[in-house]
């Protein structure tokens, strides 16, 4: 009954608004704000990429040793991300499905992944309960999040990309206060790791327990997190974020990992394991100038990362393996190096100390919806770096255009010097629906 009255009311209001505002040429069609239990949205994306290959780099030798040498290769990526939700009363179902199609010099591939799929119960604004596959996205860092213990790592080249979650049971309890402490919330998480369930997270047959406590204290966001349960070693962390002035924000993260096990290889191919307590940290800032330039700057110390000598040994071993392959056709050493690369060496930024800087200028020269940016990642340990100019245009409704170039520079046996590519140019055309 009440629902029908609301609908009638909306209809009348919609008509009256449409009429009232017609003479101003503004309209607010209230059907736009009608609440629908089912929502389906998302985007489709086409992303061609041109790679300038570095034929002499270690990673080229490791991955493409049995292929012809070419200077330039192209790749075509198609993506469809479907985001749907259904709400009934205080219960909501939410799912994100991602499909990637790739055509590259390595062939064609297709992968469809359920990024998220969970049910939420919200009996009150102070409490909610979630069960299913979900990304938790802990941490305050922009490019890296050392304390995001339950998330897959970000790609620092594109930190805003949607990521796949893990199957968890979680809840949020929120409490607001008057005073210096304005908000407290607690998020307990249970994460089962069994065969076929989160089995890429860590050791299987474990039920992991994690939690996050959030405080808004003295206008500062503060989080404390922990993870225990056995799939990974115990770890604890904290982060903070605060506006020093209205246009200047600082943030940081600290992560303590007990008994971190690191595998690395020497130049002879001997694999070593080392266990130690690792303390990683991140410090960053975001600054907006009067001329609408936004700077994001971060320093990241990853104590789980590889030392300079460990990286050098690894590249040296690849060279040895490649020489052996050229002489005898025996690729066993390269395959061994490749297996080791599945661990620490295969991470986006595998070493210890990095600087990140992103500068973006909103609408320069009065070109509306146009944002040029420049992103740089500097490896402090080996002084190699990547730098990426980028142009973004969002002037057409629901269409997002981005042209991005990344140049990688570094000496021999450095991280960016030994990457597969010298440069990369990509166009991203994304349409939201």
């Amino acid at each position: 009954m009440a629902y029908r009255e609301i609908l009638i009311g909306i209809g009348i209001l919609a008509l009256s608004y449409g009429t009232a505002l017609a003479d101003e040429d503004y309209s607010f069609d209230l059907s736009e704000i009608e609440e629908k239990p089912l929502h389906i949205g998302g985007y489709v994306e086409f992303r061609p990429v041109l790679f300038g290959l570095d034929n002499n780099s270690a990673l080229h030798k490791l991955r493409l040793y049995d292929r012809g040498k070419e200077n330039i290769r192209e790749e075509y990526n198609f993506k469809a991300l479907l985001d749907g939700s259904y709400k009934r009363g205080t219960t909501e179902f939410h799912a994100i499905v991602n499909t990637d199609l790739k055509k590259s010099y390595l062939g064609c591939s297709e992968e469809t992944t359920l990024y998220e799929g969970y049910m939420s119960l919200r009996p009150s604004s102070a409490f909610n309960f979630n069960i299913g596959k979900k990304t938790l996205k802990w941490g305050k860092g922009y490019a890296w999040n050392p304390m995001a213990f339950l998330d897959r790592p970000k790609d620092p080249d594109d930190p805003e990309l949607a990521r796949e979650g893990f199957v968890v049971v979680s809840a949020d309890y929120i409490k607001s206060f008057d005073g210096r402490l304005k908000t407290f919330s607690f998020t307990p998480v249970l994460m089962p790791v069994y065969d076929h369930l989160n089995d890429d997270f860590g050791k299987v047959n474990r039920l992991n327990v994690a939690g996050k406590m959030y405080f808004l204290l003295y206008d500062t966001d503060i989080d404390f997190v922990f993870l225990t349960g056995g799939s990974k070693t115990n770890r604890y962390g904290m982060d903070f974020s605060r506006n020093i002035t209205s246009n200047f924000e600082i943030h940081g993260e600290l992560a303590f990992i007990d008994d971190h096990k690191k595998s690395f290889i020497d130049s002879n191919g001997t694999v070593f394991d080392k266990k130690y307590d690792a303390t990683s940290c991140l410090l960053g800032l975001r600054y907006l100038t009067g001329s609408d330039t936004t700077y994001i700057f971060e320093y990241f110390h990853d104590a789980t990362g590889l030392a300079r000598s460990e990286m050098t040994d690894y590249f040296s071993f690849i060279d040895t393996g490649y020489d052996t392959y050229l002489i005898s056709g025996d690729d066993s050493l390269l395959k061994k190096a490749s297996n080791v690369a599945g661990g620490s060496y295969n991470r986006k930024n595998p070493m210890r100390d990095y600087l990140y800087l992103r500068a973006s200028q909103k609408e320069p020269f009065d070109i509306l919806y146009f944002t040029p940016s420049l992103t740089g990642i500097y490896n402090i340990d080996d002084k190699s770096f990547s730098v990426g100019p980028e142009l973004s245009y969002t002037g057409v409704k629901n269409l997002d255009l981005r042209l991005k170039t990344t140049f990688l520079t570094g000496d021999s046996y450095t991280e960016f010097g030994e990457k597969l590519n010298d440069y990369r140019i990509e166009l991203r055309v994304r349409y939201y629906f």
């Binding site: 608004y17 505002l21 919200r122 604004s125 206060f177 005073g179 966001d221 969002t394 629901n398």
Partner: protein
């Protein structure tokens, strides 16, 4: 004797505004001071370290002079002073500057504050001025203390091209506002939260809310974040001066003064988006007609026009369209259209970072 004489003087000097004082809701004003003598006292430079507070009643009479018991403590002077004055029933504190901790404590105690300099008498006069009363009334006429509404933002380019955004907005009390984008598809699910001067933006794929500033704009165009997530005007500004019909000779807006008040507002703190506002207020409805947003040097940043007064029901009668243009964005215009403004109470937990991804559930 001297104190009594001075009290009479103060009362007489404030007599023109006494009629405005609402006796059922009279403010009690404490002014930070370096001396006890209200006749000559200047406003104290630091609210937490000043030696005295001169306390005035709602009609401007000096009622009490108290020493600041926390002026010499090593830490926590600001919050303790705020609590001390709140316990005395003080509702407004005036000083040249306040520390962040004292501001937080004052807000917790629902104590209003003004950063002013000059003499104590002038400050009390300003705070009790009819202009400030009008400003509070204007805020309540614009929207209930706690409400929900829908807004459509339209950015219009010089060539007529438009970009539209629809938001669902909720507000509670003086300092809590949240909004969620319903369209276009590229923005859907994004939400913004404002707690006093703290602002965050939540982007679904990025996940964690990131801090944003009041001068940025989540939608581009002429409206910035503080315009979109606007608090009550009286929460951020005070009336420094009000032009009235008697001021016609010196006013630059002689014609308008017949049916409008012209209020000159100043930001209470540096964190507020605009240093000054010049506000034209309709005398009959006590609703804004036009607002010029100015820098400290009175440079015009933008002009906001309130148009098309509508009856939204439940005694909410207010402009349904706000337009803005700016000399800094020549040829561009932004419009905000309101719909379905409705009184509604919310729990404080709605206005938290943890709740930001769930704002949709309030619809």
């Amino acid at each position: 004797m001297k104190k009594a004489f001075f009290s009479i003087l103060v009362v007489l000097s404030l007599s023109p505004i006494m009629s405005y004082a609402d006796r059922e809701d009279t403010p009690k004003i404490a002014v930070a001071s370096n001396g006890k003598d209200a006749k000559s006292a200047m406003i104290g430079s630091k609210a937490d370290r000043c030696p005295y507070y001169l306390i005035f009643g709602g009609t401007g009479e000096l009622t009490e002079v108290v020493g600041n018991p926390y002026k010499d403590v090593q830490s926590g002077a600001g919050p303790q002073t705020a609590v001390f004055l709140a316990d005395k029933g003080v509702t407004v504190i005036i000083a040249e500057t306040f520390g962040d901790k004292m501001i937080t404590a004052m807000r917790s105690n629902n104590t209003d504050y003004f950063q002013l300099n000059g003499t104590v008498i002038d400050a009390v006069r300003k705070v009790l001025s009819p202009g400030n009363r009008i400003l509070v009334k204007l805020d309540r006429n614009l929207n209930p203390d706690s409400y929900e509404s829908y807004k459509k933002l339209i950015n219009i380019e010089p060539n007529g091209k438009k970009r539209e955004y629809v938001l669902f907005t909720v507000k509670k009390g003086k300092d809590k506002v949240a909004a969620m984008f319903l369209s276009p598809a590229s923005e859907k699910g994004r939400s913004t939260l404002r707690l006093d001067e703290n602002m965050w933006l939540y982007i679904p794929n990025v996940g964690k809310p990131i801090r944003i500033t009041s001068l940025q704009s989540v939608v581009g165009g002429v409206f910035n974040n503080s315009d979109i997530l606007r608090l009550d005007y009286a929460a951020e500004y005070f009336v420094e001066k009000m032009e009235e019909p008697g001021d016609k000779e010196k006013s630059s807006d002689k014609k308008e003064l017949s049916d409008k008040y012209i209020l000159h507002l100043r930001a209470k703190t540096k964190a507020v988006a605009y240093d000054k506002l010049k506000m034209w207020v309709d005398k009959d409805t006590i609703l804004p007609v036009r607002i010029e947003c100015l820098t400290e040097a009175s440079m015009l940043i933008k002009t906001i026009y309130y148009k098309k007064t509508e009856d939204f029901g439940d005694k909410i009668v207010r402009p349904s369209v706000i337009e803005t243009d700016s000399p800094l964005y020549k040829g561009y215009k932004s419009v905000m259209i309101f719909a379905k403004i409705k009184k509604r109470t919310f729990k404080d937990e709605v206005f938290t970072l943890t709740f930001m991804p769930n704002l949709e559930s309030l619809r």
